[in-house]
């Protein structure tokens, strides 16, 4: 159940609001574990949101974005049933992608 992305996209009044919660530890590299060892930095660097294949937002994240990041934004257009794509790549080169339809 690693690398989940929860998406909630809703269109109303000619625009679409996207809310997403992305499962990721977003380890900053400044925190120690119980044994006193630094937990190495592990965070999403680039996240991309698309609407019908066209990029509607690119996020550049650093270690100061909270664990399991949340993001909310909106764009003009979009209607019920249109696909919203979300994909990310992190500093270790891991990636995940998902697609959800606008409600």
């Amino acid at each position: 159940m690693a690398h989940q992305i929860l998406v909630h996209a809703m269109s109303s009044g000619g625009s679409t609001t996207v809310e997403a919660l992305i499962k990721h530890p977003m380890d900053s590299g400044f925190v120690k574990d119980k044994a006193g060892k630094i937990i190495p930095a592990h965070y999403i660097e680039v996240i991309e949101f698309t609407h019908k294949g066209k990029i509607v937002l690119t996020g550049y994240w650093g270690p100061a974005v909270s664990k399991n990041p949340f993001i909310k934004f909106s764009f003009k257009g979009g209607k019920s049933g249109d696909p919203i794509g979300i994909s990310w790549v992190d500093n270790k080169g891991e990636t995940a992608a998902t697609s959800s339809n606008i409600m």
Binding site: M1, L6, A20, L21, K23
Partner: protein, 278 residues
């Protein structure tokens, strides 16, 4: 002669004392809820499940933003997957609970007449696993907390309905939980009530102390300081450590009884778990 008098006196006193200390959960409940309602007249009973957010506008605003897409969403989703996954024998968790485990969290902790012990939801989940040939899970966090989060989410808004039956063992468990709640312990010499009754609504450094009324209703809980979802038992352990007391075992009778008393005190309040707190 003198000795005989004392013996006689204690013979008289004994039944009286017993009558006076006979646990009366219903009367306790009235007194407990009435105390908070009188002390914080602006907070209606059902709002107590929102704990600290009845005391700080700024914290409430942040919380409302956080629960717009709550951080425990993954726990609920994962919990549902686990809950629906078959054991090796082909059965699922649904086979262990009334109504297939849906919408029943408000009835826990439950007194089990067979064993004479209190069974919180987490323990019931583990019992179900053992009955179906699976190993027990940690009662504090991880998979069991996720399953509990999912099961509790299906009881969302249902009034808490914990029963203390007319069984001396149940009454004794309730009484033990009550005593644990009010007993001071640890190097700081705090009881649960010191923070969650006496100092309820006040600040402990940056945190607002939630009133004991409503406290159990939002468990399991996503705490930002944990970074994941934990059970009521995990919080008990944390609180005990905070007052520099030796925590009990997660599966101890002491914690089961404490959960029994505390949750009974929330009878009638709506289930609001899983919840989110700092």
């Amino acid at each position: 002669m003198k000795l005989a008098l004392i013996v006689l006196a204690s013979l008289w006193a004994a039944p009286l004392a017993q009558a006076a200390s006979q646990p009366d959960p219903a009367a306790d409940l009235q007194g407990f809820q009435g105390y908070f309602l009188k002390r914080f007249p602006k907070v209606p009973l059902a709002a107590y499940v929102n704990g600290p957010y009845n005391f700080s506008k700024s914290e409430r605003d942040q919380w409302k933003q956080i629960i717009e897409f709550p951080p425990y969403a993954f726990a609920v989703a994962d919990g549902k997957t686990l809950f629906d996954t078959k054991f090796a024998n082909g059965k699922t968790y649904a086979s262990c609970f009334p109504n297939g485990g849906i919408g029943i969290a408000q009835t826990y902790p439950m007194f089990d007449a067979k064993t004479g012990r209190v069974v919180p939801l987490g323990v019931a989940i583990n019992r179900c696993r053992v009955a179906n040939g699976a190993a027990k899970l940690s009662l504090t966090t991880g998979k069991l907390a996720d399953i509990e989060a999912y099961m509790t989410s299906t009881s969302d808004g249902k009034p808490i309905d914990v029963v203390v039956p007319h069984d001396p063992r149940a009454l004794a468990a309730y009484q033990a939980g009550k005593e644990y709640f009010y007993s001071r312990r640890g190097q700081l010499n705090f009881s649960c009530a010191s923070c969650h009754v006496q100092a309820a609504g006040m600040h402990l450094r940056g945190d607002v102390l939630a009133p004991a009324l409503g406290l159990t209703a939002s468990f399991p809980l996503y705490r930002s300081s944990w970074g994941d979802v934990g059970t009521l038992v995990r919080r008990f352990i944390g609180c005990n450590k905070k007052v520099k007391a030796e925590p009990e075992a997660a599966d101890s009778t002491a914690y089961r009884d404490l959960a029994y008393f505390m949750t009974y005190m929330n009878n009638g309040l709506p289930i609001a778990g899983p919840g989110a707190r700092p």
